[in-house]
């Protein structure tokens, strides 16, 4: 990044003079001024290795008089240039004052032609059926720089295995691989999961996976994007379509609070009734959110949108008790009647994938019938209001964290809950940021931490409040950090415990003056894509708790799969007289509902989410409609219209206009504002595949970050930390696994990711296991609080601290404990 602090140096590229910040790589510098230096192995997000030799250029230096420092001139008055005797690899050189670069010359052209020829001698002529054909850097550069024909003998060509599964998700074609090592380096340098390696040497050099199971990482899909040839292909997209047949639609990932910008490649397809179908999802560059990366859950987790379980028609429960298909008009009328007759005893629980528009319309509908009871689902993470106050400052970019900065990750396993944040914290660590991980158990984040502090299960808030006493050296580093970002989750905490922790984090940030500035502040690791949107639009987990405790007459469930999440849901739901369900799926709540309204997933509609860093981002319609499903906001608006609350809006954009007018936080978030795009560095995407690989340029907008209260200069007061802990011999802590059996990810066992979802298990400490006579691999029965006991396999693997068992949520159909509770484990 060019900042005011960086020293600028004068460089001559192709006879024109430019200024660049010192230390910039020659390929990047040339790219900035639209001079192409072709590369295969170099990638702007990784360290140069100089392997492919494609970036050879002529480099020289302007000669200066050693004594006076004056530029020496030749006879015709031009500066004397001393050219280096050999061509140099541009990727391994940085700009320096007086450097002269020729990106094209006879020697350079010849060197490039030779390198391309060398690469092609071993590369198969698969282009007609290669998935990369049409968006392939090697193909493009062959056309641009390569020789027209081969001089080698075809029979001598090396034949290798073309169908090597590196893991469940990625295939390697050994013949197509040009040994650039981008994938190996991505895994080691960027993702921090060095599961790929080079094997053998010379022409036998091959990529292999060194993990079991193969390619065991959450980021494997990114390697297919940066692969400059078709060597790495995804199981998902393999032979799905040709690149030129597809349209790319800017969309968002709806699985976690990171809010990765993605691009859906769509095409008409027989498999989807001739409608537009998402054939693949790739990352879309947003340097402030996900750079150019995304995790495999987002990339491959789009199949649920076309699940067989999707609801297709509105349904109303007849007097006899069975659901019958109705027209939208009838279903809307039935819902309106139920709401109108409820006498104000109405409540809404909205799930984490409801968009800002859905939430706002729901809020208005509830207000129209005299209710302000708006619950956020799942009711596990509190403190979104505190994030709104002291959240990361406007303009925050985790990529700017480095030496002198610090990151605290507390009560969350970022690897499982928000993988791209994990990746970005890891790279911040590599740039020199001081990373502290605090949790009651070991997590994957420990691998990338400078300091790990453990606390007793459930005591996150007190542990953090006591940080200065318990770990003064760690606290010192955090306090004195130039910039400090705190990622706080709610693992092993009750809802009150979660609030206490968020308050403790807020207090610490306020006291140490790490609020109201860019790259400083609090990030809540909340579930789902729109937890911050829930907060800004008036939905809270505390309200959910109240709704559960005091059931209303009519409850609207908007994309909240409560029965699958909460073992107590069946009980409290039965106390509600009437349930109106807006759902994607034929789920349990639907089966208890009076009115069922099928709604559209993110794929079939447009809308906006507010991510964990409070960035409002919009997504566009990618996929053809399913059945009669409509966007949730539209269904709600129709009911409101029926109730006489005013005409339904025609588009999500209009709803957003209403939000902007009604809610001050959303000022400046009109769709046209959300769609604005600025130049990003590095300039990845578009047609220049050579530079960053196959990734999509951001044409859908970078989004707008909502200012925190501290950003706005409001004084933010400290709050009381009311710690809350559960007592018991054995405490069951629900944990989150990235790959799980939630309906919005893995709707059926037949789908792609099935093999990657773990079988239900519980992790138990060795001492506890010995006490209970449980061995690793035994089937055990776990009961926690009021929940139905579940039978799962016990893992005695050192992950759980003493007195705690870790029970991942959503690995089985039966709901397991939603929040921490005392429980028992017995062998069966």
């Amino acid at each position: 990044m060019v900042t005011a602090m960086t020293k600028l140096v004068k460089v001559i590229i192709d006879d024109r003079e430019y200024d660049f910040p010192a230390g910039m790589n020659l390929v990047d510098a040339a790219k900035q001024v639209d001079v192409t230096i072709p590369v295969f192995c170099y990638h702007p997000k990784m360290k140069p290795v100089g392997m492919c030799r494609m970036c050879l250029v002529e480099v020289g230096n302007i000669q200066k008089d050693r004594a006076t420092g004056e530029v020496l001139l030749d006879d015709s008055g031009n500066p004397q240039i001393r050219w280096m005797p050999k061509l140099q690899t541009a990727c391994t050189m940085n700009v320096s004052d007086g450097l002269v670069l020729r990106s094209t010359s006879k020697a350079v052209d010849e060197a490039r032609r030779n390198v391309v020829e060398f690469l092609l001698t071993s590369h198969p002529l698969d282009c007609p059926i290669c998935d990369k054909g049409g968006e392939c850097p090697l193909q493009n550069q062959t056309m641009e720089y390569g020789p027209g024909e081969s001089r080698m003998n075809f029979e001598d060509k090396k034949h290798l295995d073309k169908h090597v599964p590196l893991g469940d998700l990625i295939f390697l074609d050994e013949e197509r691989c040009i040994q650039c090592g981008r994938c190996v380096r991505f895994q080691a340098e960027v993702a921090g999961d060095d599961v790929l390696a080079f094997h053998e040497r010379g022409r036998d050099l091959q990529i292999i996976t060194v993990s079991d199971p193969g390619f065991d990482t959450y980021f494997s899909g990114n390697t297919t994007d940066i692969c400059p040839v078709g060597a790495l292909t995804t199981t998902d997209f393999r032979f799905g379509a040709r690149p030129w047949e597809m349209n790319s639609v800017p969309t968002l990932c709806n699985h976690c609070p990171v809010g990765c910008n993605t691009s859906a490649s769509t095409r008409l397809d027989r498999d989807f009734g001739g409608k537009t179908m998402i054939k693949r999802i790739m990352a879309r560059q947003n340097e402030q959110v996900n750079e150019i990366w995304m995790c495999d859950k987002g990339r491959f987790g789009h199949h649920f949108t076309r699940s067989e379980d999707r609801l297709l028609q509105p349904m109303v429960r007849a007097a006899g008790g069975s659901l019958s298909r109705e027209t939208w008009a009838d279903a809307v009328a039935a819902a309106a009647k139920l709401l109108g007759d409820a006498n104000g005893s109405v409540a809404v629980i909205a799930g984490p994938s409801a968009t800002n528009e859905d939430l706002f319309t729901l809020k208005q509908l509830a207000a129209g019938v005299g209710s302000t009871r708006l619950g956020a689902w799942p009711p596990t993470h509190a403190g979104a209001d505190l994030v709104a106050k002291v959240g990361v400052g406007k303009g925050t970019n985790l990529s700017n964290l480095g030496k002198g900065d610090a990151v605290l990750v507390i009560a969350t396993d970022l690897e499982e809950e928000a993988p791209i944040w994990r990746l970005r914290v890891k790279t911040a660590h590599d740039r020199g940021a001081y990373v502290v991980v605090a949790n009651a158990r070991k997590t994957r984040m420990d691998d990338f931490a400078d300091a790990v502090t453990m606390y007793q299960t459930g005591h996150a808030a007190t542990a953090f409040a006591d940080l200065r006493k318990q770990h003064p050296e760690v606290a010192e580093r955090l306090i004195n950090a130039n910039n400090l970002v705190v990622f706080a989750g709610a693992e092993g905490l009750t809802l009150d415990g979660s609030r206490a922790l968020m308050q403790a984090c807020a207090n610490f940030l306020i006291e140490t003056n790490h609020v109201g500035r860019a790259n400083n502040g609090l990030v809540g690791v909340f579930p789902g894509a729109n937890a911050m949107g829930q907060h800004y639009l008036g939905f809270s987990p505390e309200a959910t708790r109240d709704i559960i405790a005091n059931p209303p007459k009519v409850l609207i469930l908007a994309q909240a799969d409560v029965v699958a999440d909460d073992p107590a849901a069946a009980a409290w739901l039965s106390k509600v007289e009437t349930v109106i369900s807006l759902s994607l799926f034929d789920d349990e709540a639907t089966r208890q509902a009076k009115v069922v309204l099928p709604v559209q997933s993110f794929a079939e509609r447009d809308g906006s989410y507010t991510n964990g860093e409070r960035r409002v981002q919009r997504f566009y319609t990618a996929q053809g409609p399913i059945g009669e499903a409509i966007p949730a906001w539209q269904a709600v608006a129709r009911i409101a219209e029926k109730l006489g609350q005013g005409k339904a809006r025609l588009s999500a954009a209009q709803v957003m206009n209403d939000i902007v007018a009604a809610i001050p936080a959303f000022a400046g978030c009109k769709y046209s504002d959300l769609a604005k795009v600025e130049a990003q560095f590095p300039q990845v995407g578009g047609d220049d595949l050579y530079y960053g690989g196959t990734s999509y340029k951001n044409t859908g907008g970078l989004g707008v970050q909502i200012a925190s209260a501290a950003d706005n200069g409001e004084a933010v007061a400290l709050g009381d930390v009311k710690a809350d802990a559960v007592k018991g011999d054995l405490i069951v802590v629900p944990t989150v696994r990235l790959y799980n059996r939630e309906r919005v990810f893995q709707a059926s066992e037949a789908q792609l990711m099935a093999a990657r979802v773990a079988a239900p298990y519980v992790e138990i400490n060795a001492e506890d296991a010995a006490r209970l006579a449980i061995h690793d691999g035994d089937m055990v029965q776990v009961s926690a609080g009021a929940a139905q006991p579940v039978k799962v396999r016990a893992h005695v693997n050192g992950a759980a601290p003493k007195g705690t068992v870790l029970l991942p949520r959503n690995l089985q159909q039966t709901a397991t404990a939603l929040t921490i509770a005392a429980g028992t484990v017995t062998k069966v």
Partner: protein, 164 residues
């Protein structure tokens, strides 16, 4: 005088053999390179030449071709390459018989034949599906899919001559 000359011409032609061909009872011979309706060719062993690359669809100026590919397995092998055309359709109402598809095909799978009597009473009938386009197998040769020995077909694109 002129009128006589006119009659002379008329009478001269009366004696000549007529050039009118009684189509469709009578057919004129075809030029070898006449471009009629398409055929999807097979290898001698019955496997399909088409590898589902969709380059014909990309080359088609009338957007008349629709291809969807799928992956071959040794248990269910359609073509000797890595993939085959799961769906292959040509909309004959759109087709302008330019032959670009034939030019684009890397395996010479699609070829324009000599049939030209294409008439339809329904737009739907104008869409020729893969079953209609593909050549029948020779007598005694298995059709597709075939079950084959593993390791025989390992190339993404088979060589142009008949595969084993």
């Amino acid at each position: 005088m002129n009128i006589l000359r006119g009659f002379a011409t008329t009478f001269k032609h009366l004696l000549e053999e007529p050039i009118t061909v009684q189509y469709p009872e009578q057919m004129r011979p075809f030029r070898e390179r006449y471009k009629g309706r398409h055929h999807l060719r097979r290898y001698e062993n019955g496997l399909e030449k088409c590898i589902g690359c969709a380059l014909c669809a990309a080359a088609c100026p009338a957007d008349a071709i629709w291809v969807e590919a799928a992956e071959n397995t040794d248990e269910q092998r359609f073509s000797p390459g890595e993939r085959y055309a799961k769906t292959y359709e040509i909309n004959m109402l759109r087709c302008i018989f330019c032959g670009y598809c034939e030019d684009a095909c890397p395996t010479q799978a699609i070829q324009l034949g000599h049939e030209h009597q294409l008439s339809f009473t329904d737009r739907q009938d104008a869409i020729f599906t893969k079953d209609m386009l593909i050549d029948p197998t020779a007598i005694g040769v298995a059709g597709t899919p075939q079950q084959v020995e593993p390791g025989v077909y390992t190339r993404s694109i088979p060589d142009m001559e008949n595969p084993r």
